[in-house]
């Protein structure tokens, strides 16, 4: 162990923390304590207050009440950023990469001189050294990024790695990771965990936040559960099985781990395809894609980052204009490259990033949920507030959206509930084909179940859904999964696929179970 003193207190100890934003109570008398070298998981449903705790632990926000100690000493003053930085490093849930700056500069932001952090305001920065150090750092994570590239030109995943590399390179003894895996694909998660295990061996303590419970079991030794802004339980992970953990998070006795839906034992859907895609190509992303989906069917489109599956989904929704190929819904061709045309043809869409394409943050839940159906809310192009409210209430009920009311600005909801609003918006048109890209992105386990249930319901009502994702949990609701790699469909699986096979296919190692003949039979 790197630490010579055996009698040190916890690296961080917070007690009696309360925080409210206006009328919203984000934390109420919450506590947490992380021992040196410990990997501590923090779980809870969306809006439980996890990220708020993170911002308090990293000195970004002051708690209203409560005490905070690092290594037994009181926390530094709020403005003393260097002192905070030396105690705790953090990968925040919201991106903190600055788009216009280079990767190298992002990595060493505000600590361009590694030797002496705060002094030397007048010593010029040596960009050459910075670049080479950035190159070394990135190499440690196996991220192939040019340190002189600007961050805005990176993929989401590459950016996330820049973020992670930066936090881990501080040399702090305590690191907070707030949903670091949400933007990574399986291979990326693997690399991250390798690195974390290595740091763990060096005695670094972690506070790890994730909605993927299996990650908690894989990495952490202790788990703390928050619910509704309060501390519920802290226990060794070995003492809590997944069911107990979910119960602690939701406060309800679980109906068992079985979801409300099931894909096994369904009759293979019959009839002409509802969605028919032939020869679709978008330069730089995917080539010559054929795809069909029948009524009652949920089709998965699996693929790692840069496999082109996301762009394919977006193309179906009308966001890109493909160079070649046709899309038709219920036998009628759809004009590509136009969202209104796609909507009119009955394609509903859940975009990849709710912050970018999903929500108008300042507007109300009702308005966001009805954004796609404003033509149905009154005569002569009017939008009647009463109908909007009623429509939104129904959505709030159906999807169990936790909100003070339909008039609340959507920005005031927690992440998971925001995601539900995006799904509500997509379902509002009662689409024939629902295209959902990572529909459960950042959503807690309970909500995930209900969101996937909502997607499944679309199919059960005799329509069809397409789930574009790299998360196995999402893909489990699918009747059929197509795996994409480098812009091509490389494999197809029927329900009951094994994780390893699918993951292998997504990584380009097409296994022996390649059911090519199934694919061909559609033609």
């Amino acid at each position: 162990m790197a630490d010579p003193s055996p009698v040190r207190g916890p690296v961080v100890e917070a007690d009696g923390i309360s925080k409210r934003f206006g009328a919203t109570v984000a934390l109420s008398d919450a506590r947490i304590s992380v021992a040196p070298g410990e990997a501590h998981a923090l779980v809870g449903r969306n809006g439980a207050g996890k990220s708020t705790l993170v911002s308090i632990l990293t000195g970004l926000q002051n708690p209203d009440t409560g005490t905070l100690r690092f290594d037994g000493e009181p926390a530094p003053a709020r403005g003393d950023t260097d002192a905070w930085r030396s105690r705790v490093a953090c990968v925040y849930q919201r991106s903190t990469v600055i788009p216009a700056l280079t990767v190298a500069e992002n990595l060493f932001l505000n600590r361009h001189r590694p030797d002496r952090q705060s002094s030397g305001a007048l010593r010029p920065i040596s960009w050459k050294r910075l670049r080479s150090r950035a190159g070394e750092l990135l190499a440690e994570y196996g991220v192939d990024v040019d340190p002189t590239a600007r961050a805005e030109d990176l993929t989401v995943e590459q950016r996330q790695f820049v973020e992670i590399a930066r936090a881990l390179s501080f040399g702090a003894r305590f690191i907070i990771l707030d949903e670091p895996t949400a933007k990574l694909d399986a291979r990326g998660i693997g690399r991250l965990f390798e690195k974390l295990h290595e740091l763990q061996r060096q005695g670094v303590a972690f506070l790890f936040i994730s909605h993927h419970l299996q990650e908690v079991y894989e990495l952490c030794s202790t788990v703390t559960v928050y619910r509704d802004a309060r501390h519920i339980v802290t226990a060794p992970v070995a003492d809590l099985d997944q069911q107990a953990l979910v119960e602690a998070m939701t406060g309800e006795t679980s109906r068992g781990t079985e979801p409300s839906w099931s894909v096994t034992g369904r009759a293979l859907p019959e009839g002409p395809p509802l969605l028919d895609v032939t020869g679709l190509s978008l330069a730089g992303h995917y080539h010559d894609i054929d795809l069909t989906a029948r009524p009652g069917e949920v089709v998965g489109l699996a693929g790692a980052a840069a496999s082109g599956n996301v762009q394919l989904g977006e193309t179906l929704a009308g966001l890109h204009r493909p160079q070649a190929g046709t899309v038709s819904v219920a036998g009628r061709p759809v004009r590509t490259g136009k969202v209104p045309a796609a909507l009119a043809a009955g394609i509903g869409f859940v975009p990849e990033d709710r912050h970018v394409q999903g929500l108008v943050p300042q507007r109300s839940v009702a308005e966001n949920a009805t954004l796609t159906v404003t033509d149905q809310l009154g005569p002569f192009g009017t939008v009647l507030p009463s109908r909007t409210r009623a429509f939104a209430r129904r959505m709030i009920d159906d999807l169990d959206i936790k909100t003070p009311g339909p008039a609340t600005p959507v920005a005031a909801l927690s992440g998971g509930n925001q995601q539900k609003v995006v799904i509500a918006r997509a379902l509002a048109t009662r689409p024939h084909v629902l295209v959902a890209i990572r529909p459960t992105n950042g959503v807690d386990i309970k909500s995930k179940e209900s969101l996937l249930g909502a997607v499944r319901q679309v199919a059960d009502d005799g329509r069809t859904a397409l789930i574009v994702s790299d998360e196995l949990d999402d893909l489990r609701v699918c009747d059929r999964v197509l795996a994409m790699f480098h812009g091509r469909v490389v494999a197809e699986f029927d329900a009951g696929w094994s994780d390893e096979h699918l993951v292998a296919a997504m990584e380009g190692m097409t296994g022996p179970t390649h059911p090519k003949e199934n694919h061909d039979s559609h033609h």
Partner: protein, 343 residues
């Protein structure tokens, strides 16, 4: 009640109830200048008995009409997340071009081309305004140029065009139709006030209850999200910019009629007032927030301030200083009344 009450085990219900109050405050943000208006009214009443006469108030109203039309235009554009500085030139150049096309080519002090009959002056003027807005839209939306600087360039260019076309002269023989709209009274109230009130009412209703009106908020709030939701963002923004130019041209008609001539610096420097009125009235410069009613209270505040200062006989040397101070004070009031930080 909201359905959250059906889940009593969630503290969300309590949260919701409390949150409810907060949002109510925010909902009345557009009213945040109403107390300011009242205070101004009281001060006006104290400093001069003439303040509360219908003559005076109608006068203030009519003086506000031209500015308020520009504010209406700018508010729509800002809500959609854009900006147009060139409105202050459009109010001058559109009438000049219309008159130039209409006036006979000889005999008067200012010689036009006489290409069109005189009755077509108003449609022509509106057309020119709309065209200016559409060209701005082209540069901003198709060439993807920065809107602030495009319209800043347009501001200079159009003012220059006006000087060039009018040869720097004020044009005195304006068409009768302009004069009528700017000068007539209907039921004892200037026609311009009726028209403005109507336009604000129509605009306000459209923003509140029409599909395309609501779309402006969505576009201004997050254009990407609006696009993904099937809103034709570029087309609507283009329409709004065009409409903005058209409204500015209409303001030009009223101005010309009201003051009896087209002066070469008609509207010069107004854009600052337009922005000040719009923003203290609660419209966000970042798009997606605000109402026309708020913008209207912004204009009225600025106009009343001038009126009250004139009635109070504030020394001319301190006029401009007070004007600036009042913009800042109104901004502070509007910020604390709404309780929202303005970023």
């Amino acid at each position: 009640m909201t359905p959250t009450t059906e889940l009593p085990d969630l503290p969300g219900a309590a949260v919701a109830a409390r949150a409810g109050r907060r949002f109510d405050l925010a909902r009345y943000r557009d009213l945040s200048l109403v107390p300011v208006l009242l205070v101004l009214g009281v001060i006006g009443f104290i400093v001069s008995p003439a303040f509360l006469t219908s003559d005076n108030l109608l006068g203030v109203g009519q003086q506000a009409t031209e500015l308020s039309l520009l504010v209406l235009a700018e508010a729509l554009i800002l809500i959609a997340g854009r900006m147009d500085l060139s409105l202050e030139s459009t109010i001058g150049v559109a009438p000049v071009i219309a008159v130039w096309l209409v006036l006979p080519d000889h005999g008067a002090r200012f010689n036009g081309l006489g290409l069109f009959p005189e009755w077509s002056a108003i449609p022509l003027c509106l057309l020119v305004g709309a065209l200016i807005g559409a060209i701005n839209g082209f540069l901003i939306l198709k060439l993807r140029l920065n809107g602030f600087i495009v319209t800043l360039g347009a501001l200079t260019l159009l003012r220059g065009l006006q000087v060039a076309v009018s040869q720097g002269q004020s044009i005195v023989n304006v068409p009768e139709s302009f004069r009528y709209l700017g000068g007539a009274s209907w039921l004892g109230v200037p026609a311009a006030i009726w028209i403005c009130a109507l336009l604000f009412l129509v605009g306000g209703c459209a923003l509140a209850w029409l599909r395309h009106g609501r779309a402006l908020y969505a576009i201004g709030g997050n254009a990407e999200a609006a696009r993904a939701a099937g809103i034709r963002v570029d087309r609507i923004v283009w329409a709004v910019l065009t409409l903005g130019g058209l409204l500015a041209a209409f303001a030009g008609i009223l101005y010309t009629g009201h003051y009896g001539s087209i002066s070469a610096d008609q509207g010069n420097g107004w854009i600052f007032q337009v922005f000040a009125a719009t923003v203290i009235g609660g419209v966000s410069l970042n798009g997606g927030r605000g109402t026309l009613f708020g913008a209207l209270t912004g204009v009225l505040t600025l106009q009343l301030v001038v009126n009250v200062m004139t009635l109070a006989g504030v020394p001319p040397l301190w006029n401009q200083f007070l004007n600036g101070a009042i913009i800042i004070i109104a901004l502070i009031i509007s910020r604390y009344a709404s309780g929202e930080k303005q970023e």
